[in-house]
Symmetry: D2
């Protein structure tokens, strides 16, 4: 039985008895970075995760202030740098619904991304910004608001914009309460938008867009029914009759921290600044922050 999770690390954990997969772990102070590669279709199917590299950054909590020079920004931006092409236009996309707090991570994070594609030639010289990498940014909204699948919209734009890579930011669902706001997953496997709030949409990946797709997200919710099953199984482990339990209305319900607004605010800033630092290595985090705000 696979519980609902957008985190590869949790899929692997809950299948550890049948699947063996190497994880490369590093610790930086109180931050842990673990990397796995899913390179085998059979394992991919069992885990319910597409082929690709998955980097998981775990930290004590996001629920505190951080500065542009925060070590966590450096760690995450280094991991992003490893996965993206070094040159060319980067197209950063914030998925999700700005009007639904737990789903607003993507749109809010794009507010912190420095768009630079339009700053060129004489203007960039006059601003002392000659070494900026070109970046374009979009929050495409969600199907219910636009009537257009995100992948459809992005695909049309990518054809003309011809970026060297697409970076997608989205809210994720986790299986575990303790991960909410404490874990960042970076992957080159593509993304299924809306997964974080339970509406699976067509994949956004290298196959559908034709350019490398790097996804970045943090879990903001646990499915109420995932939580219910987890709790039930944990507390009834001596009993034989393990069955999937159903929880009325749970489909439409999520578990979040009470301070979900604060979590979204901080996580979107952390992810936005980490992407800026990865894309603009010629500028310091402080300079990038002052250019954005």
């Amino acid at each position: 039985m696979n519980f609902r999770t957008d985190l590869a690390i949790e899929s692997i954990q809950s299948n550890k008895e049948t699947i063996s997969i190497n994880s490369d772990e590093h610790r930086y102070g109180d931050v842990t970075v673990s990397k796995v590669i899913i390179d085998n279709q059979e394992i991919s199917d069992k885990l319910g995760k597409p082929l690709g590299k998955y980097v998981t950054v775990e930290m004590p909590t996001l629920t505190e202030y951080f500065r542009a020079s925060d070590e966590r920004i450096k760690i995450i931006s280094d991991e992003i740098k490893d996965l993206i092409p070094k040159k060319g236009l980067a197209f950063v996309i914030g998925l999700g619904n700005l009007e639904i707090t737990p789903d607003a991570l993507g749109p809010k994070a794009t507010n912190s991304i420095l768009a630079t594609r339009h700053i060129s030639g004489e203007i960039s010289k006059s601003l002392g910004l000659e070494n900026l990498r070109p970046v374009s940014v979009l929050s495409p909204g969600v199907l219910g608001q636009t009537g257009i699948e995100a992948v459809e919209l992005i695909s049309s734009i990518v054809k003309d914009l011809k970026p060297s890579c697409v970076i997608v930011i989205d809210a994720l669902a986790s299986r575990s309460l303790s991960r909410l706001g404490c874990t960042v997953q970076i992957s080159d496997s593509g993304i299924s938008p809306g997964a974080g709030v339970g509406n699976k949409r067509p994949l956004i990946n290298k196959d559908t867009l034709g350019v490398p797709v790097i996804s970045i997200g943090t879990p903001t919710v646990v499915d109420a029914s995932t939580l219910a099953n987890d709790i039930f199984y944990e507390h009834s482990e001596n009993f034989d009759d393990k069955k999937e339990i159903s929880c009325p209305n749970a489909e439409a319900m999520i578990v979040t921290p009470r301070e979900i607004d604060l979590l979204i605010k901080r996580a979107s800033l952390l992810i936005g600044m980490s992407i800026n630092c990865a894309l603009q290595p010629n500028f310091s985090p402080d300079d990038l922050q002052s250019l954005v705000s």
Copy 2:
């Protein structure tokens, strides 16, 4: 074992084997109104609910559009009218934190309340508003933002304002997912602000303020640990070893509908308009809505 709930009707339900209490029920189309009176200290203690009248309005869902003339507004405003004095200044207070979505019901509802205390004499005549009841409105914020307990702040103002009654709006916690956004509780028993998000504060009631206090709220969250216990017990009912289960991090976690922002928006409008209609019987719902917005 009493689970966490701010709804008297749920406390009574979960104690039905040991406590007998009469409930007076009426149906209006798909809306049910039930009334109980807790008039006995022993029962009050067992239920964990203060003495007083509790009116519970249950409807299919709030998750749809409603007009000023909606039948639900009429039903709720009639129940409010029954509990408040007919004359004199009404002081409407929206408890909770505007910055935390599931706790923002009170502040958002006060945005829909028509403040009228300052409209008097010649001005009210010239506006055709001579028959307005005087109303004042406040969102006192939460202790962490202000450093002042809500009851302390309200008490200072009540001493000088001398209202005939205080009407308090607050987000509630329910035990049941199916009640979120579908139940409105109206009571004359007073209120413990912050209960809806787990931070119990000093009571706001007739004893602490010296005037009648009517409270109105709708459940916006279920405690993650309440849900966990409920699910566990429901699914392990054949077993002897019923014990309270603990759920790591669950203290800080809540269960809400995915569309919590929408629920808050609609519930605050429903409650705000219902209070306006109860306080201004000389004006039609449509007129009141046009005066507010």
Copy 3:
């Protein structure tokens, strides 16, 4: 001397001594609808307005509540209907910056547009929505946020989406304080996004997109320097030395109503609902409002 205005009716008024152009006027209660056609390149150049039809709806004020059944919605939606093709996908675009209040008209109005392109076949039947016209909706953001010109973005999407028409909503600049929030302009001449806040961008019109473009907007600001010149000329009309006066810092300054937030909220609702009614003639305004909110 042509002052800065996005309203054809004002350009014509300030050139009335040299240009003669017929205006067709109708009154509906306190609402006036006037229509002009600029069909001559010489006149177009003198007025600084592209060729096309311009419909101007003038009403006493927006600063009051209106219902879905408001007469103004009917009047404006009828004028929109006259300009758009009767069938096929309509693509509605809200230009402007959601984060800058006087420029947020477009993005806010799109929040009221009913997106329907994704509701089809069995789903639309089960919802009783078989007669919905397909509509898709986008707020492309502004160049400084995205690094992509709005016309570039829209053009890429139009190529794949193949709509029968594009409807563009944008905030406008007026020459006159008395027009702010009281005038709606509808045109088939295309639009230059950002004009309302002083940043001219490439045109969005039938030539650049390949499909009919209908634009709808309301003035939300007057340029501080336009106001300054207007006032100066009005009050010094006996004197010979009429010269353009300069006003330090005025470039970056705008004149708006104190209650600009309220104006934007109401105007975006009026325009959004008028577009819905024009696009979905099989549904009543009340039904459309309940589908949107």
Copy 4:
């Protein structure tokens, strides 16, 4: 003729031919601090400014990023420190309407104020916060929303709270476009709330509250009619017929920077952090910022 301004420095400037008053000026880099004392009732009447000290901090612009350690925060907080009592509870009040962007400075600034009155004894020790000065915070809203004059509300609370001083934050009106967002005025003369948006209310000062009142504000708007008159007089100075000109609808109109939302965001952060630094000298700006956000 006195034009409308909330800045003492502008009143003095426009009366410089008839009134002589000493100003004490200091420069710190590109920041100028000037201090005047109005200690004479006749001069107070001529200037239309109450008796008291007025400190004006002028800087190039707020329209850029600043850090907790910004020199401007230090300069402003030093001036606040000079005017407030060294000990006892400080009560910080943010005047204005959160829903009207140019009037939201006060409420937004209070979001950055560290409330500490409720953190005491064991809790403050366990948090390492023993040396915090007690601070309470309130945004009382505006008369139209609450039906209660701000001074009435504050007065009731002050009687029970017994603070050693009240610090009031409010948006101001300036006569000059070039001052918007570039000037901070600090005064011990009290304040007339709503002045910044044209609705004069009863005074909030030591006489009405019984404790010292320090006010802090920045101009966010210029009255449209003030601007109109200024421009007219500047450009018609050779003519005899100087008369006050009227500007239709100008009463309800204001002149603001296009980026008024950004100005409010930055000015409220600057003022909020400066107050925190003035009230909590035992903590560094960085520590205070991390405690607030």
